[in-house]
Subunit: 386 residues, 2 copies
């Protein structure tokens, strides 16, 4: 029986090359527009901001995006936006820009403080229009109810989950991803792949999301290497953009699992970018989850182009190897030791990851603290049991 | 290359048995709620209306739903709603109830008249929250930007297409379909199947919609006969409800084609219910379109459970036969002559269908007036060339 679900995606999702140009129309009639953008996209925004001002909108542009945004960076941003009193908030960029913009949209009035909204369902509301424009492929944050902050003191990432964080309009324009460096393309692409894989193999998987996730895996499996090696290949960039959108669409209804939970301390303590943390951990968590995911891994292998052959279990193993091959071919480090993380940090990282219960509860196989430590150790040495 | 598209679906889609109960929460804070409902659903709504009134909302309930709604029926409804001044409009029922509610939501203020909004993009706006609850599986109207009216004088159906007609919330609750008679289950189910098939084989097909449409075909192909023969089978009802939702999700971004165009005069002049008109015509239009759809029909056949064998063309033909078998097994008439339509009406029906350019332009094969007449004649006699 198909289980119940609630799908909450932006009421408008604009997809395709040049779609950034729809931004001005989606802001028609707004008097005061706050835009938070990553620096590299500033030039592309200028003519649009010019148009908005010609239409008598006040526009405040900020590029104060901080990667893996700490609470303090968000708080600093809230003050001037509070003064500005926007009736629309726009985030243009990667996950950090979009997440910060989403949080600004619900917090700038000052009625709630950032630490009060951490967790699920703690945001009281949102009064302004919220638009997210993705420039990476990607976090998928443009369509999710999630924003993640870094607690610098506690060295932990903390998620805010609320329907009020789902943007009203999402714009996914693959042209904006053309200038991304190969390393960012690879890490963000593998992050999007992780979203699809963790949703598809989720304890709370849902047929509607399965259909989206598996198609995302297929699209990105066929396009990521090309996008990394030739960033100007618009066919590959477009397939990656759609795969990333699909990955994002999986996150609200189903969400991620242990890869993301284990990645949190890598970001929180060692400042490894979110996409990279997930990419490195993915094959090792997949290997741990294998016994619980035979059929689904076999389908993933098929979606990644592995010809159907042998037992389901053999086919399932191929999924792990296909993911690792893809990751290596895109230049993702194949072990944690390639980062400046001491092996001695593993027990503390495992303990920190075990705190991310919101995501661990989604994992298809239960993870004990000892399991988490063992996964970190395999990932540290890059040992993938054959 | 994946083409550009705009996806406009309800910001919230509630799916599953019992989801009708979310209606009150989606109406929280609304002062004046107008509900248009099909008569059979009135009892199920009473406790919800009681709850809304306890929460101090004014509620106006009407069951003045007219099948294949004429302009006059809509106009009659607009007067009392104008007096009532709702801040939320809810349609609960099949396509007619939902379409009328959608039009009420954008027209009750009186600033535009019904005939002024016919066509694409002619609705000026909407100021009230709009919720659609589907009780058939179905028209999919709960997620589309479309509402269809009957021009009784001109004996034609006329479509209104606007982003303002997309409900804010769609509720798809398969429990509400359990009491549908077999005939309605069959006709509305084949209508939903037609949405998926016409979107998947559309001149403006899009990969995002292909993925939804083909899954809808697969789900409904496996469930429709059971749902018709045992209406209490919740697994089949749930699969049909999701297939219907998928069919609806195809309509905004891609829409239907010649089946729907040719069905318009059957409804407009001969009052054949919309679902039934489409169901009867579907195999005959598919046969006409075959040369333009070999690969896609082969995929449809596979989705309908036909084992892959023989040439693509042979497999494609199997799609037509599989659709007809499904239709016959559900008790759908296999020819137009089983309705009280004289054969002599065919030229006029063909001429009327040719006016539905909005949909004919989507058809994968160009249709001349002579083609339309030939398709009607095959359908009249129930002759499907082998």
């Amino acid at each position: 029986m198909i289980p119940n679900t609630t799908l909450q995606w932006p009421a408008v999702m604009e997809f395709g090359a040049g779609k950034l140009q729809t931004l001005a129309d989606h802001l028609a009639g707004r008097r005061s527009i706050f835009i938070l953008a990553d620096v590299p996209v500033k030039d592309a925004l200028e003519p649009i901001i010019g148009e908005l001002r010609q239409r008598h909108s006040r526009v405040m542009l900020s590029t104060d995006v901080v990667p893996e945004p700490p609470f303090e960076a968000l708080e600093k941003l809230l003050e001037p936006v509070h003064e500005f009193e926007p009736d629309a908030v726009v985030g243009v960029g990667g996950g950090s820009a979009m997440d910060m913009a989403k949080l600004v949209a619900v917090l700038f009035t000052g009625e709630q403080k950032p630490h009060e909204v951490v967790g699920i369902g703690n945001v009281n509301g949102r009064q302004v229009k919220l638009i997210a424009v993705a420039t990476t492929a990607g976090t998928g944050s443009e369509v999710t109810p999630i924003a993640v902050l870094t607690d610098v003191a506690q060295k932990l990432k903390k998620g805010v989950v609320s329907p009020f964080l789902v943007p009203d309009v999402a714009i996914v324009d693959p042209e904006l991803t053309v200038s991304l460096p190969a390393g960012v393309t690879a890490a963000t692409g593998m992050d999007a792949m992780t979203h699809c894989i963790e949703a598809y193999t989720n304890r709370h998987a849902h047929p509607i999301i399965d259909n989206i996730a598996l198609e995302g895996i297929r699209l990105m499996g066929g396009a990521l290497e090309t996008a990394v090696k030739d960033g100007t290949d618009m066919e590959a960039r477009t397939a990656m953009a759609l795969g990333s959108l699909y990955g994002g669409m999986c996150l609200g209804p189903v969400n991620t699992a242990a890869v993301h939970a284990l990645a949190y301390p890598l970001g929180g303590e060692f400042k490894v970018p979110h996409g990279l943390s997930n990419s490195v951990l993915l094959p090792f968590v997949m290997a741990f989850n294998l016994p619980a995911c035979i059929t689904r891994y076999a389908n993933i292998a098929a979606a990644l182009g592995v010809p159907r052959a042998g037992s389901d279990e053999a086919m399932a193993r191929q999924a792990i190897h296909a993911v690792r091959r893809l990751s290596v071919s895109c230049g993702i480090p194949s072990s944690l030791k390639e980062f400046s993380i001491p092996e001695s940090a593993i027990p503390a990282m495992a303990a920190a990851a075990m705190q991310v219960k919101r995501l661990l509860g989604n994992n298809p196989r239960e993870i004990t603290p000892a399991d988490a430590e063992a996964i970190f150790r395999s990932a540290y040495h890059g040992r993938l049991d054959e």
